[in-house]
């Protein structure tokens, strides 16, 4: 085993009303590491954060700080004072912006001169200096989130736990706050665990992504690995693999697997036994749409005639749902969509490379 992680959990079990809601055999957060927790509502992400912060009773297991178990009572208070947590709601005090940001320092009885210096610097970092004297209740949603982040980071925590702190914010505000957070974490070297439903946010910020389902960790890996090699179909869908179709391995040809999917064949790179049930996962950005058959001009192994079943806007991109015997989702830019003259009901050709297909074994 490598050196002790800054924060660790072993054999963690949390129950609610006698029902197990969290079961984590092992969780490690290394020095300066940024980990994102992804999963649907009720998958235990927030419960894990609260348990790491020693804010929830454990039915079993240990939380360790640099290898030393954290007990309850005063030890838990000392444990929390090394960390900071930001909740989904800003949960600001009925006080000024300055007093809110200073609250963690006052709890730690930091001398007033030091408090003024640190709060002043934190307000600057988060663009709040001009509103230090304003009542927190009069701020906008985005400003409240900034105050909440400043309050957490002003205590110079070694670990920051972030429970969807950017939820329900408009995109530019969210982007600005995320940039500020990223910069401050980089400057301080603090480790962080972020709960998010936004895979692009997780991919951008994280050193590691942990995918959770029903209180358990399904996959914990580097962002590229979770993105391109999901452990199962659940992780695939969590990470934006819009196309997850069931198939069966028809044959193995060299390093290539050919799978039967709804009367069609899909080629992928890998090895598998004929007859094995599988899931074929394809990211929408790996699918190309053409109005003429690209078989001769494209290196894509998988080319299918398809009909456009639906189109939905995703800001600068359009998500195009195709029917090519099996459902397939592609993303195209608005410009491409117009240039190609695409429309709902139009017949087109969909293609993707064998390397774009991720194959996951499936139980019969």
């Amino acid at each position: 085993m490598s050196q002790a992680a800054i924060l660790e959990a072993r054999g963690l079990v949390v129950e609610r009303g006698g029902v197990k809601v969290l079961g984590i055999p092992a969780f490690r957060l290394e020095e300066g590491e940024f980990v994102s927790l992804i999963g649907p509502n009720g998958s235990g992400k927030s419960t894990l954060l609260l348990t790491l912060m020693c804010l929830l009773p454990r039915a079993a297991g240990q939380v360790l700080w640099r290898g030393a178990p954290v007990a309850t009572g005063g030890d838990a208070v000392a444990h929390r004072r090394r960390m900071a947590m930001v909740f989904q709601e800003p949960l600001l005090f009925r006080a000024t912006v300055y007093e809110n940001v200073a609250s963690g320092l006052r709890i730690r009885k930091v001398p007033r001169a030091e408090e003024r210096r640190r709060v002043g610097a934190s307000l600057e970092q988060f663009g709040l200096a001009a509103m230090a004297g304003r009542s927190a209740g009069m701020l906008s949603g985005g400003e409240m989130r900034r105050v909440s982040l400043a309050r957490a980071l002003v205590v110079e925590p070694e670990v920051v736990l972030l429970d969807e702190p950017f939820a329900n914010l408009d995109l530019p505000t969210r982007q600005g706050i995320t940039d500020d957070l990223e910069r401050v974490l980089h400057e301080t070297g603090a480790a962080a665990v972020l709960v998010t439903h936004d895979q692009s946010e997780a991919l951008r910020l994280s050193d590691r992504i942990v995918v959770m389902q029903r209180g358990e960790v399904v996959q914990s890996d580097a962002p590229a690995a979770v993105m391109n090699e999901p452990a199962n179909e659940f992780v695939a869908s969590c990470m934006g693999m819009e196309t997850v179709v069931e198939g069966t391995v028809a044959r193995q040809v060299g390093g290539e697997i050919v799978m039967a999917v709804a009367g069609r064949e899909i080629s992928a790179i890998g090895t598998a036994l004929p007859g094995q049930p599988v899931y074929c996962c394809i990211r929408p950005e790996h699918v190309t749409i053409d109005t003429t058959n690209p078989a001769g001009s494209s290196s894509a192994r998988n080319v299918y005639p398809a009909r456009i079943d639906g189109v939905s806007s995703m800001g600068p991109y359009l998500k195009v749902r195709l029917d090519c015997g099996f459902p397939l989702v592609a993303t195209v830019t608005g410009e491409s969509f117009t240039t190609l003259g695409l429309a709902r009901g139009r017949q087109v050709f969909a293609s993707f490379k064998a390397t774009a297909v991720h194959v996951i074994g499936r139980a019969c």
């Binding site: 609260l50 929390r80 004072r81 900071a84 947590m85 909740f87 009925r94």
Partner: protein, 232 residues
């Protein structure tokens, strides 16, 4: 209408002349009700915080009892305390009956459920995750309670006002355990009843005006403190 006019004229006269007896009665009213409110604030806010923040079997029953206590008739409180403090009663050896201390206890008994009930509501009205946030900031148990009290200070000030309003205006308990003894336990309410019984309506009206003015002044000061806060 003459009675009212005479009453208000008399009140003005008594106030302007700083009548020593009226002044004494007014000060005793403030002392007794102020002390009873202070007792109820300490006991009621503590009990309300504990009940509001804890989970225990029978919590709903306890909250129901407190809510019922908010409407406790002063005469019932007075009767209960009279029996306790009666010379031959369980606490008779203390010799407190017909003293201002007994009146403070009786009024405290009336105000405490009011303060407790409003405190429970105030604490339960705070965002549920706020307590977790305060703990996450590294607060000790004492710091948690203090920060929660600070957050609930607007409804808690309303609790203080309701408690004070409930006791400064009550008469049943004060007359039963205080006895309306001149120069010792006579307060504005008991004196008003006595003067009305004697047909001295002008003095009774004067005492009522003073009582209303005192209540208005105290509540105005508390409201000033409360409304200094901007709404969220």
């Amino acid at each position: 209408m003459d009675l009212f006019e005479e009453g208000f004229a008399k009140a003005l006269q008594l106030l302007l002349a700083l009548d020593p007896e009226v002044l004494g009665i007014t000060l005793l009213s403030l002392e007794v009700s102020g002390a009873a409110t202070a007792v109820s604030v300490v006991v009621g806010i503590s009990a309300g915080m504990v009940i509001g923040l804890s989970q225990f079997p029978g919590k709903r029953l306890v909250v129901s009892l407190v809510n019922t206590g908010m409407g406790l008739p002063p005469v019932v409180a007075g009767l209960f305390l009279s029996i306790l403090l009666w010379r031959s009663g369980p606490l008779g050896f203390l010799g407190l009956l017909y003293t201002p201390t007994a009146m403070v206890l009786a009024q405290g008994l009336i105000a405490t459920p009011i303060v407790t009930g409003i405190t429970i509501g105030a604490v339960q009205g705070l965002p549920p995750a706020l307590r977790l946030q305060i703990q996450a900031l590294g607060a000790t148990r004492t710091q948690q309670l203090w920060l929660l009290v600070k957050e609930a200070r607007l409804p808690l000030l309303a609790a203080v006002m309701a408690g004070f309003g409930g006791v400064i205006s009550e008469i049943g308990a004060s007359i039963m355990v205080g006895g309306n003894i001149r120069g010792s336990t006579r307060v504005l309410t008991t004196a008003t009843v006595m003067e009305t019984g004697r047909g001295n309506f002008d003095v009774a009206i004067a005492l009522s005006v003073i009582l209303l003015s005192v209540t208005l002044l105290v509540n105005y000061l508390l409201t000033l403190v409360q409304q200094r806060e901007r709404p969220r």
